[in-house]
Amino acid sequence: MQPLIECRNLSKRYKDVYALDGVNLTIPDTGGIVGLLGPNGSGKTTLIKILMGLLTPTDGTAKILGREIGVETKSIASYLSDFNALNGGYKVKDQLDYYGDFFLDFNREKAEKMLKELGIGLDRKIKTLSKGTKEKLALILTLSRNARVYFLDEPIAGVDPAAREYVLSTILNNRSQNSTIFLSTHLISEIEQYFDWVIFLKEGRVVLEGNAENIRQAEGKTIDALFREVFRWMVW
């Protein structure tokens, strides 16, 4: 079976600074939630951006289900950026049209149902929505695709506890069957129980990777406790 994600000696350098430094990863295609964990600046966003084809690696290779990053991988990967990348000039329904036009796996009915539950009108201009509502809209659009893999970059950072609950329940209840969610965060305690696989990134390098349950048993502590131990002396 092809691994879902395979990185070999993957590096990204900005002038003299390595955002990623020789990352080697093999994540099995078993579905579930993969936690990409590390403090700010550890390379989480860089790794996701490379896997989505938004950054070109300086060195090494990255593959999704055995394919080089490109049109094929983008057709099966759904991405939520850590900021609002939606077109502010569009109405909500225009943005749904956009997704429907470009993503064959987009489920418009599902998106409309979720928007209705939140009371977001289809005729609202995106730029008139609050920051939190824009984030929810982006999440709904991302999860309304029947993708094989979802890349969610810091989906729970910077949101209040109530919104965080909504975001987490939406992620857990709306992903497509047998899919994998690749979720980056440094807020582990609330989501730790859902992790099937974890990757610890530190200064652009993988310091720990593996099945979450095996790590808990081997280390005799929670992922959250382990995270605090590994990154105790780092400036966040």
Binding site: G53, E72, K74, I76, D101
Partner: protein, 291 residues
């Protein structure tokens, strides 16, 4: 046979996205169509509004021209006609430049700013992105150019109205018609050259944006463009100096020579477009680095 079935099952894209040899198509109608839709959605309406406003202004100017026979003296006439004419000239220049400005803004915003995260998340090839941008920009430029030409024709009619009626204008238009009819190939070449020239302008703008995205400072690119232009001028001047003085004195621009000049220009412009387009597509394919 089993191998073929497995190969098909492993494909992530619909069957029509692959050619007979199983390779991914670089340009697919199903992706180019919506890309063009969103490009035209951004560009077309503002260009049509600007073009419409210019034509309305030229109609106004045309109508004003005839008032020369009503007002008591030419000075009074010029006091309102001249400012309107100057405004029209600025309007015409703006209408021609507007699609270029809009396209440059769109190109950078849609590719290299925050919107780029969504643009490059969609499963479209670099060629499809490139073609959608170029086709829409050239079409909008042509619309603006045709509108500007129509408007200028109307406004110039007004100038001839000043000089004594429509007769002069009819003579001029008759001359233009004769010229076009005299050598239709020359007319076709000129139209072709103007379309290719438009595409070439957008290629330069696109390549400029890609260079900046790849970290080259804008002033370096300006210096390069000025340098290439200066080299061209120096080369032309040197060439003219090398020519025989008698030859230059007796030189006449024959239709045959005009055909040669046109085709050399067309080939050179196409060369520039191919080179810059390759650079653009290569950047979109291999060098994307969104901040």
């Amino acid at each position: 046979m089993d191998g073929m079935v497995n190969e098909c099952e492993n494909r992530f894209l619909p069957p029509e996205d692959y050619d007979k040899k199983g390779r991914q198509k670089r340009v697919r109608g199903r992706m180019l169509k919506p890309l063009l839709k969103y490009e035209f959605r951004y560009l077309l309406l503002p260009v049509l509004i600007a073009s419409g406003a210019l034509i309305a202004l030229s109609v106004l100017l045309f109508a004003l021209g005839f008032s020369v026979n009503i007002v008591p003296d030419p000075d009074t006439f010029l006091s309102y006609w001249l400012p309107a004419f100057i405004l029209f000239i600025y309007g015409a220049l703006f209408t021609m430049a507007f699609p270029v400005i809009l396209s440059i803004v769109r190109y950078n915003k849609n590719f290299f700013k925050q919107e780029g995260y969504l643009t490059f998340s969609i499963p479209a090839t670099a060629e499809e992105h490139f073609l959608a941008k170029r086709i829409s920009a050239v079409c909008c430029m042509l619309i603006a150019s045709v509108a500007a030409l129509l408007a200028i024709a109307l406004a110039v009619s007004s100038v001839f109205a000043l000089a004594g009626g429509l007769e002069e204008w009819q003579i001029i238009m008759g001359e233009v018609g004769t010229l076009a009819g005299y050598d239709p190939f020359l007319t076709v070449e000129s139209v072709l050259l103007s379309i290719i020239g438009t595409a070439s302008t957008f290629s330069v703008c696109g390549a400029f944006s890609c260079w900046v995205h790849r970290g080259v400072k804008p002033w370096m690119i300006v210096l390069l463009v000025v340098g290439v232009y200066a080299l061209g001028v120096i080369g032309e001047t040197a060439f003219l100096f090398m020519l025989d003085e008698e030859f230059l004195m007796n030189f006449t621009l024959t239709p045959a020579l005009m055909h040669i000049v046109n085709w050399v220009s067309i080939v050179l412009e196409i060369g520039v477009i191919v080179l810059l387009s390759w650079f653009e597509i290569h950047t979109l394919k291999k060098k994307i680095n969104l901040k």
